[in-house]
């Protein structure tokens, strides 16, 4: 097996990879650049810098898991590959946050949907945040390059039934739908992207940029938590980090100090503001952690007349943007429509209920379809996003109040999702809401949604996309970094992840992160080598 797996082969060939749990004494290391985080942003950055001949140290709080560990097992995967063992929620508990915590970050567990940043989003950034350099024309070559690097192409195989229901519903209603581009190579169409790709087909950071960086002499510490960037005068001197025990959650007591000329933070929209806040990084306009976005997601489930097998096949292959930008970029809350894969543990956690009703609901799984709406937050004044702050123990937490503007969008999405499912032939539909029964007709559902209480906890909300919190912009009074990810105040600090987005993306964000990190890392490499 070791001969066929990219990671196993690299480890055998002598990659510099250190598991924090194996460290027995405090130590110091030095490199040209320390990159914190190994997801879409950190992986891209590390590969580009290492290929440019710079010495790079990568730091990852989660552990290194790869093909040998990916056994299509939900419970093990959720406990080991996700933030807070899949229990991460917003501050009041109302939104469940699905986010990776392992080498490769969320790209190791995402469902492979790979969209370019929509033109209206880039144009909005130009007009609202002065980011003219990120126009669709200027970004095109970076998207082209990253699509090649991650083998991103529209999915050519037929969609699975779960996705086809979205297509059929849209088709019947005259609403637009498209095929999703995916970052896969030789995909087996199994359906287990969310628990770590078992076949190495997924071209996330774990199988592309991380190996690329390690092949070029980068060093990776995993199971090592970045605690604090320590300043000396006006520059960052070193990163202070804590090794984690083999369980991945308990600090072992061993500390590591990492010195560098430059530091790139790519620890996610929750992790990056958290690290900057813990480090007391200069923040004269109090911007760190502000305007954090989530693409809040609500969902409906349907019982279909025939077999759906929603646990098998490429999890996401069809989407609809019918309601995303159609009412203006800063009009009423727009949303993208997609479907989620449904495996038993995920379904049991998402479908709210207990007892006989729950046994009955979950027994429908083989004939179940679900549609999700991803709300485009951050484009309207009534959608200012959430705020990342620190808990007493220094860990970051996101306070994300759902505004009336978003509730209106979520309610609208409930109508559209249920209508799609009935149009595709659903026998009955249930909203993911504590009060929702199963509805057997579209008319009843519509009447039910009319009366529905839109309130935290009662409406089940999720997010798999965290963005913002260290927003970029030309005006330092309302942003943390400039359009190249360079910190406005600290000259040897860059931020290369989704935290720099000044709004949400309006699409699954991985390709937006890859492309912007590639652009900004190419410039950083030039600067550091000159």
């Amino acid at each position: 097996m070791s001969l066929t797996d990219r990671i196993a082969r690299g480890l055998e060939a002598g990659w510099k990879v250190t598991d924090g749990a194996t460290l027995t004494h405090n130590q110091t290391h030095e490199a040209d650049v320390v990159v914190i985080g190994t997801g879409a942003g950190g992986g891209t950055t590390a590969e580009i810098l290492a290929r440019a001949g710079l010495s790079v140290i990568l730091v990852e709080e989660g552990r290194l898991y790869y093909q040998k560990d990916f056994k299509m097992n939900e419970l093990d995967a959720y406990a080991s590959l996700y933030q807070e063992g899949m229990s991460r929620v917003t501050k009041d508990g109302a939104i469940a946050v699905l986010q990776g915590r392992c080498v490769g970050g969320s790209t190791t567990v995402n469902w492979t949907s790979s969209f370019r940043t929509p033109d209206p989003t880039l144009n909005h950034w130009a007009s609202r945040f002065g980011l003219d350099d990120l126009s669709p024309d200027a970004m095109r070559l970076w998207f082209d390059g990253r699509e090649e690097r991650h083998n991103i192409e529209p999915w050519v195989t037929d969609p699975n039934v779960n996705n086809d229901i979205l297509r059929q519903g849209c088709e019947a209603l005259g609403w637009s739908w498209e095929v999703i581009p995916r970052n896969v190579k030789g995909c087996w169409n199994l359906g287990y992207c969310g628990v770590g790709c078992p076949t190495n087909a997924k071209q996330g950071a774990l199988t592309t940029t991380i190996p690329g960086a390690l092949d070029n002499n980068a060093r990776l510490f995993h199971g090592l938590r970045a605690d604090k960037l320590v300043m000396k005068q006006d520059r960052i001197d070193h990163l202070q980090a804590s090794a984690m025990a083999a369980d991945g959650v308990t600090p072992s007591g061993i500390t590591v100090e990492l010195k560098a000329k430059h530091f790139v933070v790519a620890a996610s929209a929750i992790g990056s503001p958290g690290l900057l806040l813990r480090s007391d990084i200069p923040d004269p306009h109090n911007r760190i952690g502000k305007r954090t976005f989530l693409h809040p997601v609500n969902a409906t489930i349907a019982e279909m007349p025939d077999t759906v097998d929603p646990y098998y096949g490429a999890p996401q292959s069809i989407y609809s943007d019918e309601f995303n930008f159609s009412r203006g970029v800063d009009g009423p809350a727009g949303f993208k429509l997609e479907v989620p894969p449904l495996h038993p543990a995920m379904s049991a956690g998402v479908v709210p209920g207990h007892g006989e009703q729950q046994v009955s609901d979950l027994s429908k799984l083989p004939r179940m379809n679900s549609v999700i709406a991803l709300l485009r937050d951050g484009f309207h004044p009534d959608s200012p996003g959430g705020t990342v702050s620190l808990r007493d123990d220094g860990s970051p937490v996101l306070d994300y109040p759902v505004t009336d503007y978003l509730w209106a969008g979520l309610k609208d999405a409930f109508y559209k999702m249920a209508e799609i499912q009935f149009a595709a032939g659903a026998k009955q539909v249930r909203l993911m809401h504590l009060d929702s029964p199963w509805y057997t007709t579209w008319a009843d559902t519509k009447a039910g949604i009319d009366k529905l209480t839109m309130a935290p906890h009662r409406v089940r909300l999720f997010t798999a996309h965290q963005m913002g919190g260290c927003g970029m912009g030309n005006n330092p009074e309302e942003s943390v970094v400039n359009g190249f990810g360079e910190h406005h105040q600290v000259t040897n600090l860059s931020i290369h992840d989704a935290s720099v987005f000044p709004t949400s993306i309006g699409a699954n964000p991985q390709l937006s992160v890859y492309a912007l990190a590639a652009r900004n890392s190419t410039r950083l490499a030039q600067k550091l080598r000159s």
């Binding site: 040998k68 419970l75 508990g93 646990y311 049991a348 709210p352 007892g355 729950q358 799984l365």
Partner: protein
């Protein structure tokens, strides 16, 4: 849930002039409230240490699991809740049923261990509130201690928290059902209940990671 919380609970609120429901709806109020209960529970002799290998399942055949988060009281709580939580999903046969409950509680504990300190603290507050006699009666409105609670009573409690107009109770309902449902339905022993056939056989047969451990 209750429109009026009993006097004993009201007196613990630092802002008695505030409308009780709006107080409980706020995260801050909720945190203070649960914090109060946790402290009180600790002082009143509720078990607060993880149960380790010492837990009240004398009937269990396998005692090898070491609890790292759940206390003896928490275990009793889940023994009472699970029959209502997963209801007819449990086997009729008593020995099998007990094993299913034990294994599910062990998986809940293992799962919570991976949650990390912040969410563990939240759950500690919730479990203490349910275990501490005064709040069990006043807030959960469960009159007898959990070891004597019938599945019907446990179901009624879950229903009150599910249908409550108070967000904090809805949140408690979600927390309890989520950890239980995921640990129960997510395990291969119970996949048949959801009709999930498991990972595709051809993939399991041909992928190297399944051969190494065979």
């Amino acid at each position: 849930m209750s429109e009026t919380l009993p006097q004993s609970v009201q007196t613990e609120a630092p802002a008695t002039a505030m409308d009780r429901r709006s107080f409980l709806r706020t995260g801050l109020g909720g945190a203070l409230f649960l914090g109060t209960v946790s402290v009180t529970a600790g002082l009143s002799g509720c078990a607060s240490a993880p149960a380790g290998r010492d837990y009240p399942m004398p009937e269990a055949m396998d005692q090898s699991y070491e609890f790292r988060f759940l206390t003896r009281d928490d275990i009793v709580l889940f023994k009472a809740l699970l029959p209502a939580m997963v209801g007819p999903g449990l086997a009729e046969e008593q020995v099998v049923r007990r094993q299913q409950i034990q294994a599910t509680i062990e998986r809940i504990d293992a799962g919570i261990h991976q949650f990390g300190p912040a969410n563990q603290k939240e759950l500690r507050g919730l479990f203490d509130l349910l275990n501490f006699g005064l709040t069990r009666v006043t807030v959960a409105r469960v009159w007898s201690s959990w070891e004597n609670v019938s599945p019907e009573t446990a179901h009624a409690f879950l229903e009150r928290w599910r249908t409550s107009g108070i967000g904090l109770f809805n949140n408690g309902y979600i927390a309890l059902t989520k950890v239980s449902n995921v640990a129960f339905y997510g395990h291969p022993d119970h996949w048949h209940l959801s009709g999930y056939p498991g990972p595709p056989g051809f993939a399991v047969d041909s992928l190297p990671q399944f051969k190494d451990n065979a």
